[in-house]
Every structure is written in structure tokens, then in C-alpha cells.
């Protein structure tokens, strides 16, 4: 089996832990910073007060499990007299945890207030002037690697939900699978709370059954690499395609229109200005938030001088951010792939194993920009066990009758399959589908996303 059952390798730490319950009191305005390695599970519950993980408020006396994450529990300044208490079931040397009052959360809350005030003006206008609708703020978050962009995007999304707004969260960092797998670029209306226990803290998409948290419904574009520089032209092209789709959604959906857009990005600097410029125009960005990089803000202000409607601000990065290494990123990617097919401890999903005949399908591959042909095109892949085994294939939305590869650029992704084994002799591919039944389409794109057990 290429993907083992999820529960099998994750250990509940209490089985090996030594110490009993540990109580942590988080003072108002402080953060309880936690680093939980993969394969280790931290169980904890908030027993008193108000505590949030990147803006998502935690229930009282409900046990939560997190694993493979570097995160923090924040106690907002609300009730001067209350204690915010958290009880952690076990403590291990592997789990790093400490309290810090060196929080930049006040700045981030201010940012939410700004964005929400902009939404308020727009939604009022849209009631008063139904013939001249405006869109809510399109917020672009930029900064270096490891500056906490995704955490900020999460926080802005979570506070938006708390404020009854529905922004569209756009993930342009193919390293992370946001409501999808790594290698994808996605846009997802955040219409309900995030699921802090899920693999990357965002949550589930729709399933055929019932979930603890309401699911989200993303649109998924395939890029196929985790690094934007592998094929920058393709990246930019897919970003612009996603932009068209997102802006169309805003046209059709007043809740999303009022909520605006929050865009998370890969690490981009001033040398990537053309990428930033493209994103700004593709998504009609009107607020750029630079995370902890004064210089970048100044440079961007200079370069965007001509755009009077575009505001550029900076917020500090959190001192609590810890460097995540390649191995950690890789493990996180694997966890989100696993969760896509198998679910997690709370919600088990049943994927569907089947074999397909390679001759019934057309498989394309994304090309590197270093390849000779036009960087934008997809090349027909020659399927072999060496290039397909243990890889992820993207199923495109193109109908089965479709013959040419040209339109691959303009389609979206129906879902992903995992190839466990390609039998060169028989021409059969052993695949894992997320959903039972026949193979829905036959235009596939092989990605550079690998997955071994």
C-alpha cells in the first residue's frame, strides 16, 4: 500500500510521555508559543478565558490535537480580571513551548481593523448604490521567507469570519497546499471558521459525508512545482488565470465582493518585482502589506508611485517565528497529501484504489523553463515507472472527449490521484482516487510533487 493508514504512524504522545497534566496561564496580550514535531501529538484544552490560534478562537474545555506545527496560542486583551488557562495533557522534550509577551498581535489586529473598516465602507456603498458596486479590499501580503505571511493570512481570514465577512483567500505559494495539495494555486471563500486541527490549520473541502467544521470550496489551478522559479512564465500565467476567476466570483457573489481578497505569496523580494506587479494587476490589489521588511516597502512605494489607488503599508514580523527547515516543509507537505486522501484523526476519508490503462489517458507534464520549448507549454509525458511511481497526477476538468493539450493551460483541477506503481509491461497504472467510482476524466498532468510512504 502506498499510503498507509493515517493513524498507524502517528503516536499519541501520552503513551510515552512521563509528566502529567501541565497547566499554562497565558497573560492577556501574551503568546504561548509551541513547536510540535511531526509524529508527535500535542493534546491540550483551554479551560478558562479567551485563547486564539491565529485568530481562530478555541472552545472551552474541548480537547484539541495538533501535530507537526510551529504555532502559538494568543490571549487577546479583553477581560483584565480573567485568567486565560490552558491545560496540556503531556509535556515532552520534543515539544518546545514557552510564554512570550513580545507580541506583534496588536499590529495585526490593527491591520484587521483597517481591512474591516474598508469592507464596511464598501458594503454600505453597495447597499446605497446597487448600480455601482465596489469590491472590498484586495490585500496582498508580501515578505521574505519565514516572515509569517501565511500566519497573517490565516489571522486576517479568521478575524474576517469573526466580523461576519467572507473574504476570498488566495494562496499563490505552491509550496503549501491550501485546501489542496502542494503544487497548486488556489482561491477559497472563507465562509466559516478555520479548522486548527487540520494538517496545515486551514481545514477540509467538501466530502460526501459530514464534517465537524463546515467545509470550504476552493478553485484549484495546477502549477505542478513547489518553487515558483522552476517555471516562472507558467506560474505567472496560472496566477493571472486564477485572478480572472476570482474577480468573476466577486462579480457574482455579493458576500465575497464585500469581503474582498486576501493573497498569500511565496517569498518575494524587489528582484521579483514583475511577479508582484502581475499579482497586483491580476487581482486588482489595492493594499499591499509588507511583513517585516522596511526596505521592500520603500522600494515598492517607489516602483508603484504611479498607482495612486494602491496603498502600501508594513507590519512587523513576529519574533516568535522559528526557522523551518526543508525537512519540516517536506513533512508538512506529506501530511497535507495524506489528509487529502485519508482525512485525519477526527474525520477519516475513504479513498478508492483502482488500476487504469495508460492508453486510455493522456498524461502531460509541466516543463521547466530550462527546457527548450516554450516555457508555457505542457509536453506529452512518456509514462514510465521511473517518472510516475510515487507521484501525484492532477486530473484536469477537461472533458474526456478532449483531444488537444493546448487548453491545459486554461483549465482547472478536478482532483488529484496518487500513483503507487506503474506497470511498464502491462501499461497499467495503480492509482489512488480520493472519491470512489470510475476515473472521471482522462486528461492528466503529472506534477513534480512526489509522495513516498
Amino acid at each position: 500500500m502506498s499510503i498507509p493508514g493515517f493513524g498507524a504512524e502517528a503516536q499519541v504522545y501520552s503513551e510515552t510521555g512521563s509528566k502529567g497534566l501541565v497547566e499554562v496561564a497565558i497573560p492577556e496580550g501574551s503568546e504561548w508559543r509551541i513547536e510540535v514535531p511531526h509524529k508527535t501529538i500535542l493534546k491540550f484544552k483551554v479551560t478558562e478565558g479567551v485563547a486564539e490560534i491565529f485568530g481562530t478562537e478555541l472552545p472551552i474545555n474541548v480537547e484539541l490535537q495538533i501535530s507537526g506545527t510551529k504555532t502559538m496560542v494568543y490571549a487577546p486583551i479583553i477581560y483584565e480580571t480573567f485568567k486565560n488557562k490552558t491545560v496540556m495533557s503531556n509535556e515532552s522534550e520534543e515539544i518546545v513551548e514557552y510564554l512570550s509577551n513580545d507580541s506583534v498581535m496588536a499590529n495585526y489586529i490593527n491591520l484587521h481593523l483597517v481591512v474591516e473598516a474598508m469592507r464596511q465602507q464598501v458594503s454600505d456603498n453597495n447597499i446605497l448604490n446597487p448600480t455601482e458596486l465596489q469590491s472590498g479590499p484586495r490585500v496582498l501580503i508580501v515578505g521574505n521567507g519565514n516572515s509569517g505571511k501565511t500566519s497573517l493570512a490565516k489571522l486576517l481570514s479568521a478575524y474576517a469570519i469573526k466580523s461576519d465577512s467572507t473574504p476570498v483567500l488566495v494562496n499563490l505559494n505552491p509550496r503549501d497546499g491550501v485546501f489542496s495539495l502542494p503544487g497548486s494555486l488556489t482561491a477559497t471563500p472563507i465562509s466559516d471558521s478555520l479548522d486548527v486541527e487540520s494538517a496545515n490549520g486551514w481545514g477540509f473541502t467538501t466530502t460526501s459525508g459530514s464534517l465537524f467544521h463546515n467545509p470550504k470550496q476552493p478553485i484549484v489551478k495546477n502549477y505542478g512545482f513547489v518553487d515558483v522559479n522552476e517555471n516562472l512564465d507558467l506560474y505567472k500565467y496560472q496566477v493571472s488565470k486564477l485572478g480572472v476567476t476570482v474577480l468573476s466570483r466577486l462579480e457574482e457573489d455579493i458576500a465575497c465582493r464585500n469581503g474582498g481578497v486576501i493573497i498569500d505569496t511565496p517569498a518575494l523580494g524587489i528582484k521579483d518585482f514583475t511577479v508582484i506587479e502581475n499579482i497586483v494587476s491580476d487581482f486588482e490589489v489595492n493594499l499591499i502589506v509588507v511583513l517585516g521588511n522596511e526596505r521592500l516597502m520603500i522600494d515598492l512605494k517607489k516602483r508603484f508611485k504611479h498607482k495612486s489607488a494602491l496603498q502600501i503599508v508594513k507590519v512587523p514580523k513576529s519574533e516568535g517565528l522559528v526557522e523551518v527547515d526543508e525537512a519540516f516543509i517536506r513533512r508538512t507537505q506529506e501530511e497535507s497529501i495524506k489528509e487529502y486522501f485519508n482525512g485525519n484523526y477526527k474525520t477519516r476519508l475513504s479513498p478508492f484504489k483502482t488500476d487504469i490503462d495508460v492508453n486510455d489517458h493522456t498524461i502531460y507534464k509541466c516543463v521547466l523553463s530550462s527546457d527548450v520549448n516554450s516555457a508555457l507549454s505542457f509536453l506529452p509525458a512518456e509514462p514510465s515507472s521511473s517518472n510516475l511511481d510515487n507521484s501525484i497526477l492532477a486530473i484536469t476538468q477537461l472533458p474526456s472527449t478532449h483531444k488537444s493539450g493546448r487548453e491545459l493551460l486554461n483549465t482547472s483541477i478536478l482532483g488529484y490521484v496518487h500513483v503507487s506503481k506503474f506497470d511498464d509491461a502491462k501499461g497499467k497504472i495503480k492509482v489512488l482516487l480520493p472519491f470512489p467510482g470510475g476515473f472521471p476524466r482522462n486528461m492528466l498532468i503529472s506534477t513534480n510533487i512526489g509522495f513516498n510512504e
Binding site: V114, A117, Q120, P434
Partner: protein, 526 residues
């Protein structure tokens, strides 16, 4: 005291004569009669008799002017007039209101009555007894005045009413120009004339009308405040249609005019082009209302004006209690970020009082997931639906067999653009979880059910793997009988009855070699 009583009767006769001339909204007459009343408090009873008589007897359209006179006397002279008439004021007001036309009713409810609520007379006493004002309030509430609607447009707010307002200001300019000719003033006068032309020639949008009205109102309010220091506040004829330019008061109005003009400039209704040469003559032109009215960003010299403008414009939007709190708190933020966005981000210290809309105003927290709800009707309804949803989900999750599930396929661009997230939430009204889920997947034809073939009447079927019986149920949304949680056996055609549980399919594919399942896929190749 014959002489006195003679004098008194002459005075009252003359007074009655003048009052009967109030057949239009005449400022000079009202001013004159107010002065006489103020100078003759001993005759207050007589004077009030004349006026109340006039109010009751005059034809409906003219009752208002007599009421204005009464208003002017009470505000200017105060005691004893306001005391004597105080207990009758509801009767008088409601009489004029009931017989008045729509314009009169709106003027009475939104202007005259509003001014009564706030006006104080010497010694800081209220103008009329609280109990009378409350009666008027209740009366107006029942009648549904002042009128508002969702579009933010009072029924009486039209180009016409604003033209009348503009007219009165034009008259003010005109008289100023006659006494102090001034090129700058004349430019502004022309600009106002243009605004009038614009109002005459184009139907403006509700929001634009609101904006113009708000500016005009601001000026009037400032005017009132200004006058109350020296003389008398009153819902002056300037706020009512000034039928004849001559009726307007001829007083220095520099501030009002400047303010109006600045406001018009500020909100883009008047455009100024000036050569960048010192002393060059600015060229003012009216901007047609294709320019959207917007609350301007950046420094605002007149923040009081902005407040009024914002309040006026936004007060017509219906908001829940929670939304009102949120609106109030975010208004404060809007004002701060207008001048210094980065400064706000850096230095604002969020306090509990700034964040009610995130916490305290949503004080009802779900014990199961931590989601917050407001305690107003809206929030209470949502919370009830939310708890119902938890209950349904928990029930389902506890019976492990019914919750075998798999991840759905993603939507394509077209379906996603037209998708509404309400379908994912617990607040969507009609259906249970199952049909909701089915509805979503049905949309894209990626479904955990098999529709009973059209030519088949046998609803009972069996899973080909576990042999358990499966009964079809009718799904309203799909309009079809379906075997739920099942998939058609691989390789079977549309009319085949060979089905298996989705869960059994998963199990079997793990056990068996997949050889035979592949056959089904060939069909899909064209």
C-alpha cells in the same frame, strides 16, 4: 387701565390682521410678529389665541406658516409663550400634520420636531414639556415618519426639494453680491446656479441626492447654531421651500456660502481648474453625477461635515444591533486611518472598547466549537441553527456506518464562480445534511449515489459485495430515486442495477487485484 386695554385690543387686532397675511412662508412677517410678541409678554394669552386659532382655521397648506410663527415665538421669546402653549403642542402639531400634505408632513417630522427635541430656552429649560414631545414621537412613529427606506432615499428627497434648498442659498448669494460685488463670490454664485441647472436637468441617484442634502443640512445646522448664540434657533424658512427669494433673510452669510462651496468642491460636485500661476482666476465647473460620491480619503479640513455626511448617508441602512456596534467601532477606525494609515497600524493600542464587535458584542459562545454569536434576534436565530447542526452532525458521526465519506472532486471555473457558500453552511434553511451534501455533489455529477435507472421500477437492490439490501430514496433536489452511499460497479452501464456501497468498494479494491475493474474505464475513451 382703559388705555392699556384699548392698546391691547388694538395690538391684538393688528396682530390678528398680520397673522392672516401668513398665506406664504414669509420671513419678514414671522420676524416682525415674533418681535411684537417678545415685546408684549403681558398679551401672551391673546397672541397665542390668535395664532392657535389661525392654526386650526387656516386652509391646510397655510397652517404650517402659523405653526412656524408659534415656533419662532417660543424659541425666541420663550417664557411665558412656550409655557402657556406647552400643554397644547401635541394637539397643534398633530392637527397640522394630519391635514398637511406629504411635504408638510416630512418637514414637520424631520425638521420642526427634530429642532424641538434639542432646543433649550433661557435657563436651560426644554422648549416644550417632555411628555408632550414623547406623545409626538409616538404619534410620528406610528405614522412611520420621518420616512426612510432601504435605498437611503426619503420619499420627499428628490431633485425638486434640493432645488428649493439650493434656491434659498442662491438668494442668499444674490443679496450678498448686490451689497458687496466680488469676483470670487460671483464665481461661486455661478457654481450654485450650475448646480441648480444640474438638478433640474438630471435625475440624480439616491446617494448623490443624500450627499447634496447632507451638505445643505450641515450648512443650515451651522447656521442655526450660529444664530442661537445671538438670537434664536428655528427651523428657519431656509430649511423650508423659500417660495419667494424676497423672503430670504438678508444677513451676512459668508461662512455658510464658503462652507457649501468648499463642500461641493470636496465632494467633487464642483471642479476647480486653476492655472498654476499666482493670481490666476480659478475656473469652476460643475461635475456631472457620473462621478461617484465617495467619502474622501486623506485630510479633511471639516471633519464635522464628514461626520454629518457619513451619518446621514449611512443612517438609512438597516442594521442589526450587532451591525450597529460594528459600524460604530469601524467608523472610529475609518476616521483615524483617513489621516495616517501607517501610524494607526504602528501605534494604535486596541482596547476592549474598540473590539466589541469581535468579542463582547458576540457574547454567546458555542460550547462545542468556540464560534461566537451576537445576542440580538439575528444572532440568536443563527446560534439555534448552529446548535441544531452540531446535533445532526454528532448524531451522524456516532453511527459510524452512515458516515463513510470521501473527498469530493473540485468544481470547475464556471461552477465555482457561480457557487454560493451558503450551501456549505448550517444556516441554509430547508434541508437536512444529507440532501445538502447530495445537492453539492450533484451539482458536479460527482456523487455518492446511483440513480435508479429510468426504466426500472424495482427500488430494492443489493450491494454486490456485502449482499446487504439497499433501498432507494427519493431526493427532491435531484428529482430522482437514488441508492445513496453507493457507486455503480466498475464496468457497468447506465442501466445496470449492479451497485455496491462506496465503503465496500473501497474495501474490495484493497483486497482484490484491480484487473477486472479497469475494464470499466475503457468506456470513457472516445
Amino acid at each position: 387701565m382703559d388705555l392699556g386695554s384699548d392698546n391691547a385690543s388694538t395690538l391684538l387686532e393688528d396682530y390678528a390682521q398680520s397673522v392672516s397675511e401668513l398665506t406664504f412662508n414669509s420671513r419678514p412677517i414671522i420676524d416682525n410678529l415674533t418681535t411684537i410678541a417678545q415685546e408684549n409678554p403681558a398679551n401672551a394669552d391673546g397672541i397665542l389665541n390668535i395664532i392657535t386659532n389661525r392654526i386650526y382655521k387656516a386652509i391646510p397648506d397655510q397652517k404650517l406658516y402659523a405653526l412656524y410663527l408659534l415656533d419662532s415665538i417660543c424659541k425666541t421669546a420663550g417664557n411665558p409663550y412656550n409655557i402657556l402653549v406647552g400643554d397644547d403642542i401635541f394637539k397643534l402639531f398633530s392637527h397640522v400634520f394630519q391635514l398637511g400634505n406629504e411635504t408638510i408632513r416630512n418637514t414637520l417630522s424631520s425638521k420642526l420636531f427634530e429642532s424641538w427635541k434639542v432646543t433649550k430656552v433661557r435657563g436651560n429649560f426644554p422648549l416644550f414639556p417632555r411628555e408632550q414631545l414623547d406623545k409626538i414621537k409616538t404619534f410620528l412613529d406610528k405614522a412611520g415618519y420621518p420616512k426612510k427606506n432601504g435605498n437611503g432615499n426619503s420619499p420627499d428627497l428628490s431633485n425638486m426639494t434640493l432645488i428649493e434648498d439650493t434656491n434659498s442659498l442662491i438668494a442668499v448669494f444674490q443679496s450678498r453680491l448686490q451689497s458687496h460685488p466680488d469676483a470670487k463670490l460671483s464665481d461661486r454664485f455661478n457654481a450654485l446656479q450650475e448646480l441648480k441647472k444640474l438638478l433640474l436637468s438630471q435625475q440624480m441617484k439616491p446617494a448623490e441626492l443624500k450627499a447634496v442634502q447632507a451638505q445643505l443640512n450641515t450648512i443650515k445646522e451651522q447656521d442655526n447654531n450660529h444664530n442661537s448664540n445671538i438670537n434664536t434657533p428655528m427651523p428657519t424658512p431656509a430649511t423650508t421651500p423659500a417660495a419667494t427669494p424676497g423672503a430670504s433673510r438678508v444677513e451676512p452669510v459668508k461662512n455658510e456660502a464658503d462652507t457649501l462651496f468648499q463642500a461641493l468642491l470636496l465632494y467633487g460636485l464642483v471642479k476647480v481648474d486653476q492655472d498654476p500661476i499666482p493670481g490666476s482666476k480659478p475656473d469652476y465647473s460643475i461635475v456631472l453625477p457620473k462621478i461617484k460620491y465617495q467619502i474622501p480619503k486623506g485630510d479633511l479640513s471639516n471633519s464635522a461635515l464628514q461626520d454629518i455626511l457619513t451619518a446621514n448617508l449611512h443612517s438609512s441602512i438597516h442594521r442589526s444591533e450587532y451591525e450597529k456596534i460594528k459600524f460604530g467601532e469601524l467608523q472610529v477606525v475609518s476616521k483615524q486611518i483617513a489621516s495616517d494609515l501607517q501610524g494607526f497600524l504602528n501605534n494604535n493600542k486596541p482596547r476592549i472598547s474598540d473590539l466589541n464587535f469581535l468579542y463582547d458584542a458576540k457574547s454567546s459562545k458555542c460550547a462545542l466549537c468556540g464560534k461566537r454569536f451576537s445576542t440580538d434576534t439575528d444572532g440568536a436565530t443563527k446560534k439555534r441553527l448552529h446548535l441544531d447542526w452540531h446535533f445532526r452532525i454528532n448524531k451522524k458521526l456516532s453511527s459510524s456506518t452512515s458516515n463513510v465519506q470521501s473527498r469530493n472532486w473540485y468544481l470547475d471555473d464556471y461552477d465555482w464562480v457561480n457557487f454560493k457558500d451558503d450551501a456549505l453552511l448550517e444556516f441554509s434553511t430547508s434541508e437536512t445534511g444529507e440532501t445538502k451534501d447530495a445537492g453539492i455533489v450533484a451539482k458536479t455529477n460527482k456523487v455518492a449515489f446511483v440513480a435508479v435507472p429510468a426504466n426500472d421500477s424495482n427500488m430494492n437492490n443489493r450491494c454486490i459485495i456485502c449482499r446487504e439490501s439497499v433501498k432507494a430514496t427519493y431526493n427532491d433536489e435531484l428529482g430522482e430515486w437514488c441508492w445513496f452511499n453507493c457507486v455503480r460497479a466498475p464496468g457497468e452501464g447506465k442501466n445496470s442495477r449492479k451497485i455496491m456501497h462506496a465503503s465496500c468498494a473501497v474495501e474490495s479494491s484493497k483486497k482484490r487485484g484491480a484487473e477486472d475493474e479497469v475494464n470499466g474505464l475503457k468506456k470513457q475513451k472516445v
